[in-house]
Symmetry: C2
Subunit: 347 residues, 2 copies
């Protein structure tokens, strides 16, 4: 334990395209002092998630305040309270919250998303399954997707940290789940580890992306009864290919746009307009951000833990060691090289 | 009264682009015979509406069965029952329903949308205000738009049969209403006749369509507090221009696509993808078809008539005389040459 050093991941420069490790540098900061009504939290695990790309953008449609060069990089962590002057938190308590990429941070409880209960699930599960990924999957399905028994749920980035949970939660509700992934290996994982009923790739074995028409044909084969819910983690051409296949009153959760992350700020995302399909099938499409649901995050803990206990929910974590590797873990996750939820073990 | 002749508007040939009068011909058909549980309805007024374009398409995303050459053209009418063997309908009753473009049709009540009550509003109002246009405006706002007091509601095709009612209903609910139209004259009408708080055109006085960027700037000026509800009657570039201006949790009613009616069957509608905006502002967008709401059409009659009585709802009808002119009235409406709801007086 580096008791006297507060290692911090600092934003060195803003990325032109997709962020990489070279956008960050390490610094040693002060150990912050805990005042009345506050506690000192020590980081155990860092979570790296796609939303962090938006934090590193100057303008564009950023939905929260971003970071600037010189700032500590924002992130969620699982942290342990090592000193407390707060009535509701005692030393030894563990929390999941926004403490950013550093060894030590001050909290006052307002930044806590959920309290970590390792009797319910092991420590690692609180970063992905109980954290951003699981809450996104759970509330996206609960509030927008609402899959019914026998319906078909299509999931893009199907074995990603969010997608892998979406498929299993929807399946536990009686839906038929179909995944879209980037490779045959990931399809295998979708079927064998995450219980998808069918899985397809959006590109051929040579890495050539299928045209929307080709992809539509592949999705149609995997979804013979059409699509009732689409959990859209990618945007771009992949989403476009699904349009002709929606059933009456289908629901679309717009959750991510990783497929168009190559676009520069201000560069328009051009593709197929959807109004014709939306009217014909009275489709509902809604933008989703998990931050809107943080206040009820504790409600999802019970149902998610129950699914794990019933053997209906597998989750995987991909652990990298050392806070200094957090930028690399972030880069890796953005390029889809992780297997399971990418986290970083700090202490 | 041509008692012995059943004049019918027959589909002569399917249009390649936007339908015109030459796609139809007149024929004299048989007077149908009224059986038990049925009634004979005589057409008084024909309504011509944009959805009828979809009825004339062979393939594409048509949402109901279409017509073929040789068929009587589909439409809604206000008709009077002149013979009845049905317990619930008596001679002299007037109904709004799907009796198609002909003098006489048989009904059994299943095709009745609402019963016409001329004590409440005059006959002409039951075709537009109480019919498809009014029901579309009412239920689109009721089920998807849900404007709240002080919110900004943007309406495209703002003085059209639907748009002109949307603006007034939303305004009666306390919203600020802004209209988009095709000409300075229509803007004037939007402000003076239909009570819009602001109105803009989507093209300049020489008829050149503004670019999305130019139009965005114009909408922004008219909507200084952003957009909370967009009643989208046009699709195309006009809709695209609104994307940067949505407020958090805005609602979009996808009701029509007249701006892209030049597209041939199968020709893709290409434009700006909206996923980025939808996530950033957690926008809800939903396809709307009034047919889903016909079963509760009678519920809207009271509230709409009340608004008229309170002087909060102006409606206009543009009446053409003679069933033989129904194709021309249809052509005229599709080209936006009507002033108020286009109907045809038949008897």
């Amino acid at each position: 334990m580096n008791a006297m050093i507060n290692r911090q991941v600092i934003v060195d420069n803003l990325p032109a395209g997709l962020p990489e490790a070279s956008n960050f540098r390490m610094e040693n900061g002060e150990i912050p002092v805990c005042g009345e009504g506050q506690f000192l939290a020590r980081c155990l695990y860092i979570s790296v998630d796609p939303y962090m790309v938006g934090r590193l953008k100057v303008s564009s449609a950023a939905y929260t305040a971003g970071v600037e060069p010189g700032d500590v990089m924002q992130c969620y962590t699982v942290s342990e309270i090592i000193e407390s002057k707060h009535a509701d938190y005692k030393v030894g308590d563990k929390v999941y919250g926004s403490y950013n990429m550093q060894d030590y941070a001050i909290g006052d409880g307002s930044e806590v998303i959920v309290r970590v209960d390792t009797d319910l699930l092991p420590l690692e599960a609180w970063q992905g399954l109980m954290g951003m990924a699981g809450q996104t999957a759970y509330w996206g399905l609960e509030t927008i997707g609402q899959p019914k028994e026998g319906e078909t749920v299509l999931v893009s980035a199907a074995v990603g940290s969010v997608g892998s949970l979406v498929g299993q939660i929807a399946k536990a509700r009686g839906a038929r789940v179909v995944g879209i992934t980037s490779s045959a290996d990931k399809c295998k994982q979708a079927l064998e580890t995450f219980g998808y009923d069918a899985a397809i790739t959006y590109r051929d074995t040579d890495g050539r992306a299928f045209t929307p028409t080709e992809l539509t044909a592949k999705i149609k084969e995997a979804c013979p009864d059409g699509i009732d819910v689409y959990f859209d983690n990618t945007g771009g051409d992949i989403s476009e290919a699904a349009w002709p296949l929606y059933n009456l009153r289908a629901r679309i959760i717009i959750c991510g746009r990783i497929a168009v992350s190559h676009l520069k700020p201000g560069e328009p995302d051009i593709g197929l307009r959807d109004q014709g399909f939306m009217i014909a099938s009275r489709i509902r499409k809604e933008g989703f951000l998990v931050f809107d649901h943080w206040h009820k995050a504790a409600e999802a803990v019970g149902p998610l833990a129950a699914l794990v206990k019933e053997g209906k929910l597998n989750y995987q974590t991909d652990v990298m060691e050392g806070i200094e590797n957090a930028p690399l873990a972030f880069e890796r996750m953005l390029r889809g090289h992780n297997v399971g939820k990418q986290i970083v073990k700090v202490a």
